[in-house]
Amino acid sequence: MTSRVPSLILGRLLIALVTLTIVSFAVFFATTLLPGDTATILLGQAATPEAVAGLRTAMHLDDPALLRFVYWIGGLFRGDLGTSYANHVPVATLISGRLANTLKLAGLTTLVSVPLALTLGITAAMWRRTLYDRIVTVATIGIISVPEFVVATLAVLVFAVYLKWLPALSFTYQVDSFAGLLRAYAMPVVTLTFVVAAQMIRMSRAAVIETLNTPYVEMALLKGASRPRLVLRHALPNALSPIANAVALSLSYLLGGVIIVETIFNYPGIAKLMVDAVSTRDLPLIQSCAMIFCFGYLILITTADIVAILSNPRLR
């Protein structure tokens, strides 16, 4: 059966490509539906009808949407993301630095949150219905139920304003040592860990418990296997697929969803770039950002699907 695995993986990749195409179409037309006109917004309080008309023509805003879509998608294939309406800088230039920042923050948060969340989730399942399990559950829901901006602001007040251990803003360009890295990233990473860990904890716990209920695991229990051994050797491999899905869904938040953390720590990432782009109706920039988010999301869920395929004993 080994031969099925490569074809399944290939299938998943093809499906990802199809989705990407649908998304590019959806993103383009969704952004053109946004109310408000780029030319009017760019001219701001100085927008006279003539000025708006002139700028619209100069920016090719009067071309049919389909034509602009073809130009745009053609540009994407040539690696040309277009030029920002708002400040006439190539979109690629605007995005590259910000994307690197976002990936750095996402990477560090992943390194911290995934091991932590999986450990908590799996151990909670191991000792299900014990005090430990209850504490983990209440703490998890308690933490995610506090709005992110409260967590972030509270962290700033405690660690930056009162204790003065860390800077209130994340000065990423001052990172030249491990201590510098810690100073710049500690609070954003902890805040984001609070946000994304909960889903992973809850779902890995649920998935492990689900597999613990299956007859063959019960068989192992009857044979006298210890609880940790039961979970790690028998239940975990079968729960890998839902866990991978939960991890992928949680991590996808780290690309486009971190707007609040970026705002509060003044972290120059891509989510803030996109919000700026939405408020200036900078369509090339919005579309490129949205495509990056989609691309990241598809990489994550495709990876999760592939993990699921590889971990499925019936396919191995």
């Binding site: 709005p147 209920n213 919000v275 939405v278 999301y297």
Partner: protein, 284 residues
Amino acid sequence: MKTHSSTGTLAARSGYRINPVGVASFSVVLFWALVALVAPYITPHSVGEMIDADYFGPMRPGLWLGSDYLGRDMLSRLILGARYTVGISLAAVFIACFTGVVLGMASAVLRGPVDMVLSRLLDALNSIPSKLFGLMVVAAVGSSIPVLILTLALIYVPGAYRFSRALAVNIETMDFIMVARIRGEKLPYLIASEILPNIIGPVLADLGLRFVFIVLLLSGLSFLGLGVQPPYADWGALVRENIGGLPFAAPAVIMPSLAIATLTISVNLLIDNLPQKIRDRSAS
């Protein structure tokens, strides 16, 4: 993975056992639901009335939860906020989960082109970041309460769909579904009577988590300047507008945070501690 074949497992030992944690969390949820229902009759002051000359005032008789950033009565604002947070979030989570789960099960049963098209479309929808999607929709259609509910629901449909489809696909391969199919049962019967009872536990757990996300996204949308119309405010918006009181530990910011926490924790504990017969129909 739960099937009819797992009769006599660990889960079967508990029947409709009344669980104190479940009762306690049910009481909290019921309390907030009642507060939401009778809110207009029990507020001591009008929500918009500025009665305190000071702002971020402390708790004291007459102003039991202190005053907010404009000197308005926090207790009244919190009571009326319950309407929005409980009402909008519950409506949105039920629409999202109902739609997502029904579509997910239908996809699993029908397979083929229906599954393919639905899966791709919902994946595409899900890959647009939720806050930005919300911003776009609400900016395009305005910020009325039905639009808000539908937007929140739409954002969480793909997740519920992906999760329930994955569960249903496992069930769908079981023998008893095959038998039902041979009997000539139609799609509604298959999903309602054969598949749903076998995935209800995880689906409910997912619903609980999604409820938390919706309560928070509602406040996230308020953060971006959208949401319920003044002078009313949902709990998340109350936290946000009074965040300036955090350095003083003002009740104006702590109380709505606590309200959110009690509601969301209770909903999830309630789901975790539902009587086993409801949670695991398969175990009967």
